[in-house]
Amino acid sequence: MSARGQATRTAAGRRSRDGGRERAMVPPGEPRSYYGEPILAQPVWTPEIPAYFFVGGLTGATAPLTLIASLRGNDVLARRAAAIVLAGSLASPVLLISDLGRPSRFLNMLRMFKVTSPMSVGSWILGSFGATAALSGARELLGLLPRGGRAAQGAGALLGPLLSTYTGALIAQTAVPAWHEARRELPFVFAAGSLSSAGAMAQLITPYERAAPARRMAVVGSVAELLAIRAMDRRLGPLGEPYHSGRVGIVARAAEILTGAGGAIVATAPRARRRRAAVAKTGAAALLAAALLERSAIFRAGFASAGDPRYTVGPQRERVRERARGGADGTGGRV
């Protein structure tokens, strides 16, 4: 069978959208399985987790905005950004702890620091980010600690983007094909969604005249998000099917449409003259909804990917076949 033939057939046997790609993840024909039972266990995470991906992402991307707005004397925007960061860093641990099977043991997250566990690294990022958020909030909102607050804002501006993106690493470091095979793109998808939603949230609560930086973030973020999603799609090929089928597919499509529409609306708001504030805020609301839907689509797609043995067995069986073919070269063809 030709490489082309392999690539054009998706796991479910329908034609994939990018027909001519040479890399086949799921070979044609039904992979064998144990009565169709999944190989992987379904994740046990609750909807608090995609909600946290959204809130944490937005919060992290707002931290550098706080610093720059404050440095440039845009106090109106800086105060609101600091408030968003503070609220987000209070809400994030609540969402995470409520997902734990033993919430009273949440402090065990800081029992060690493990670079092999993005959740461990993320716990430390979130913990230290929270401290910077408190100090930054004290500076902008209460006028306390002008110097300490500024230093904390600097640290927060560096930690924030890590807070926004480590969650991509978190789900990528699992055996779930739709997540793990997208490990190069997921952090960018989350970064872009964070940029657009942070911009959207800040301009939603900031007077139009002072919110231009936030509007630019919303527009740039929405474009980046559409591009990052596309890149992830191409990488996954047939393994990306769970992102496009069933209810997840509807949610992902809605997210994509809202992202494009929201970005376009915000971009055209200045031309709306007297109603420009209302128009910009409408676009912002669309972008916030889009980012939340996008995170839930990615989250739910992982469940579908883990739940179908074809996605697990197909690429693995293909690797075994490839090794058998390349076995003569002495390396065993191991990757």
Binding site: Y34, L100, T116, L186, F188, G221
Partner: protein
């Protein structure tokens, strides 16, 4: 013990030879004594006895409350009824009738368990350190540390770990850590009446397994294959490995499992690059004018 997992070496003088299971499925009779012994010894809660309807399987797969699972595979394929000894006409006819009655059905049975991987993804991603490597080279959850974050559940390439809902923590096979400490073999291996589940030092088990698979292949069982015995595979070889009579996926096992930790560098590099891009994006957007 230079090939011992890194964590075992940290035990210094207290490190023990690595132990594990060799499950020879060619002699499994599907009696489920292992499942029962495991449940009894480890006080694993009852989680329903529902027949799957597709075969004699009534526990369906490993989970928080099923640490040994006996898979039953029914295959329609020509079954050889001759054993090499010339038959009388009567014997030949009787055998033929038997084969016809059975519809040439083959049963594959296999007792599945946690693989106690050399490179264990569950252990690597566990943020609390609840999952740890014992002095025997096995992988165990410390139930007084686990906070039920659930990260190990999708990280395991075999789908072994799961959360016990009413309890909130994850549970899996401990390779009877308590019994090992007392010099006993795990309950499942002790209960197995056909020695399909063999417990012992890993090196010794591997030798025995290689001999057995050669025997079976010579006896005309071309599908006989060892699974997870190779230290060069994606999980560095398993502490619990298998002799199978068909491809692993037929038993519900992944044909080429990998510990995703080997891709950690790629993932973190992408994350740092994305964080850098995000920071640059915010700066570029925010330094412009206010209008």
């Amino acid at each position: 013990m230079s090939d011992a997992p890194l964590e075992v070496r940290t035990y210094g003088g207290e490190a023990k030879p690595r132990v594990g299971f060799f499950t020879d499925t060619s002699v499994c009779i599907g009696c489920k004594a292992c499942e029962v012994a495991c449940k009894e010894w480890n006080r694993v809660p009852e989680d329903g006895l529902e027949h799957s309807g597709w075969s004699m399987d009534n526990s369906r797969g490993l989970g928080a409350d099923t640490w040994r699972h006996v898979a039953f595979v029914e295959q329609r394929r020509p079954v050889s009824v001759a054993d090499g000894i010339p038959d009388t006409l009567v014997q030949h006819t009787a055998r033929r009738e038997l084969a016809d009655d059975l519809g040439e059905l083959r049963w594959l049975m296999s007792s599945d368990v946690c693989k106690h991987c050399t490179h264990a993804a569950c252990l690597e991603v566990c943020p609390t350190g609840a999952l740890f490597r014992t002095e025997f080279g096995t992988v165990v959850v410390q139930e007084d540390v686990c906070n039920g974050c659930g990260y190990c559940v999708p990280a395991c390439p075999f789908g072994v770990l799961d959360k016990r809902e009413e309890d909130g923590r994850v549970w899996k096979c401990t390779l009877c850590y308590d019994r090992l400490g007392a010099g006993q073999e795990p309950a499942c291996a002790q209960a197995c009446p056909t020695d399909s589940i063999q417990f012992g030092e890993l090196g010794e088990l591997r030798e025995r397994a290689h001999e057995r698979v050669r025997e079976l292949q010579a006896a005309g069982e071309p599908g006989a294959q060892l699974y997870l015995d190779d230290p060069g595979d994606g999980i560095g070889g398993a502490g619990a490995f298998f002799l199978l009579l068909d491809d692993p996926e037929v038993y519900g096992l992944p044909p080429d499992p990998v510990d995703t930790t080997r891709d950690l560098g790629t993932t973190w590099r992408a994350t740092l690059a994305a964080a850098g891009a995000l920071l640059a994006g915010v700066v570029a957007c925010a330094v412009g004018g206010c209008r």
